[in-house]
């Protein structure tokens, strides 16, 4: 798993949702652990697309349950 992608994603999550970047770790669920709602997930996805140069279609976004899911998706699609 890419540490650069993880730390970059953590920065976005902190900016959008106020979760401390250190708490944004691979095993955490966006909804259940980090208390991020569907509206914030859209913002996070748009910022991640810009930051990492990937496309995250809505049907893919729905599958990204954990931070690790997102890091893996971004790493393999950028």
């Amino acid at each position: 798993m890419s540490d650069n992608v993880l730390s970059g994603l953590a920065e976005i999550v902190e900016e959008v949702a106020g979760v401390a970047a250190d708490d944004v770790t691979a095993e955490k669920s966006f909804v259940d652990d980090l208390d991020i709602d569907s509206l914030s997930m859209v913002e996070i996805a748009v910022q991640a697309e810009d930051k990492f140069g990937v496309k995250i279609p809505d049907d893919e976004l729905a599958n990204l349950k954990t931070v690790g899911d997102a890091v893996n998706y971004i790493t393999s699609n950028k």
Binding site: V16, A17, G18, S38, L39, S40, E49
Partner: protein
């Protein structure tokens, strides 16, 4: 009056161009301060707007709210949250003091999330759909301020958002009165919020020729009842009060600021923006507030006026006051200092009225130097006046011909 139910005020909260809370606002009002300052936004020069002043918050809500909370809220919602938290704490409420199904929130706004609407429209135009915030709709909807406060307090007796232009804040308080009197709620958090100091509202009001262009003397621009008045000054802010059924408040040992004895509402049926110069609809609202409160007009010592510093409106209001109450009430117009907070005005000025009764003091009408000869009533000017009040009325009127009068009495 036959129900035996009384509505009392137990908590106050505000953020205004005179101060970041109720105490600082009240002190600045009595001290003769003005909230009107030059606009420094780039859109003033960009569009060559004729109005270059506004009554602007002294404490920005983003300084008070956590960053992530603030970025999810329109500015009108931010000020509602700030004022509501103050009022809730001031009332001594906590998680256990009221059954949430007996708690309502009613917060009005005149314009709603105009800043969000314009910002997001710019993003759509310039950067496309992807950049439009998924929070756009909950940030721009006019029920947003009420909804966010209601959610925070978990109010489940009802969350409402009256929209009646510059009467919205007073209309919210009138609605709270009705909910308590009808037995629908024991406690209601009610008020108004407005934050629309941005290009299109300023341009629109300017084109309607309703705003002061005294740009070279911002602090003297808002001058209700003065012969040299030339329009209102746009303001921003929020005022919120906690209203309760008296028995409920007394049972929990709450301090009581005063009583909302009666309310009156009416509509002019005259013109979309101009008030009826004969003040017929306005006087009906004032008379109704006294009737519903069982108040003898002779006992009304003071009217806290809506007077916005426009040539027509200020005089029409005094005609209405004379019709409904008589020649004896002492008047003031807080918009001389506060500017016009639109949907928040009625709520902030209701708070001022409650404090006038509590402290026995009526603030001066700032910038009233030469009373319009068409006004034959006693308007406080120069400095505050000490006066013991048995009852006082607060007027609020809005574009559309909405009229609201709130009649307050001592605790």
């Amino acid at each position: 009056m036959t129900s035996g139910i009384e509505v009392v005020i137990t908590g106050l909260g505000a953020t205004t161009p005179l101060g970041g809370d109720v105490t600082s606002t009240w002190d600045a009002l009595l001290a003769g301060k003005s909230g009107v300052r030059p606009l420094t936004h780039d859109w003033v020069e960009k569009y060559d707007l004729p109005v270059k002043i506004a009554s602007q918050l002294v404490v920005d809500p983003t300084e008070v709210l956590p960053r992530v909370e603030a970025r999810r809220l329109d500015r009108s919602e931010q000020v509602a949250i700030v004022a509501s938290r103050q009022a809730w704490a001031d009332a001594g409420h906590n998680d256990d003091t009221v059954d949430r199904q007996r708690l309502a929130v009613i917060i009005g706004t005149g314009i709603g999330g105009a800043i969000t609407l314009l910002t997001q429209d710019d993003l759509l135009e310039q950067q496309g759909l992807r950049k439009v915030s998924p929070l756009t709709v909950p940030m721009l909807m006019p029920n947003g301020p009420a909804a966010h406060v209601g959610l925070e307090l978990k109010a489940q007796a009802g969350v409402h958002a009256p929209v009646s232009a510059c009467a919205s804040g007073a209309e919210a308080i009138a609605w709270a009165y009705r909910m308590i009197m009808s037995g629908e709620a024991d406690v209601v958090v009610a008020g108004g919020a407005e934050a629309c100091i941005t290009a299109i509202p300023v341009a629109g009001f300017s084109q309607a020729r309703t705003m002061s262009t005294r740009n070279d003397e911002p602090e003297k621009a808002s001058r209700p009842f003065d012969t040299a008045r030339d329009g209102f000054v746009l303001g921003e802010g929020a005022g919120v009060m906690v209203l309760e059924r008296r028995e409920f408040a007394e049972a929990r040992g709450a301090k009581i600021y005063g009583r909302l004895a009666g309310i009156g509402t009416s509509a002019d049926g005259y013109h979309i923006t101009a008030p009826d110069p004969e003040g017929v609809g306005q006087s009906r609202a004032i008379a109704a507030s006294l009737r519903s409160g069982g108040i003898d007009p002779a006992d009304v010592g003071h009217v806290n006026c809506h007077a916005t510093s426009t040539p027509v409106g200020d005089v029409a209001e005094t005609v209405a006051i004379r019709k409904a109450i008589g020649d004896h009430p002492v008047l003031t117009a807080p918009k001389g200092a506060l500017g016009h907070l639109l949907g928040a005005a009625g709520a902030v000025e209701a708070i001022v009225t409650v404090l006038s009764i509590r402290d026995g003091i009526v603030p001066q009408t700032l910038n009233l130097e030469n009373l319009d000869p068409a006004v034959t009533l006693d308007v406080v000017a120069g400095e505050p006046r000490k006066i013991k009040l048995e009852a006082a009325v607060n007027d609020s009127f809005g574009f559309g011909g909405h009229n609201v009068a709130l009649a307050f009495t001592p605790a």
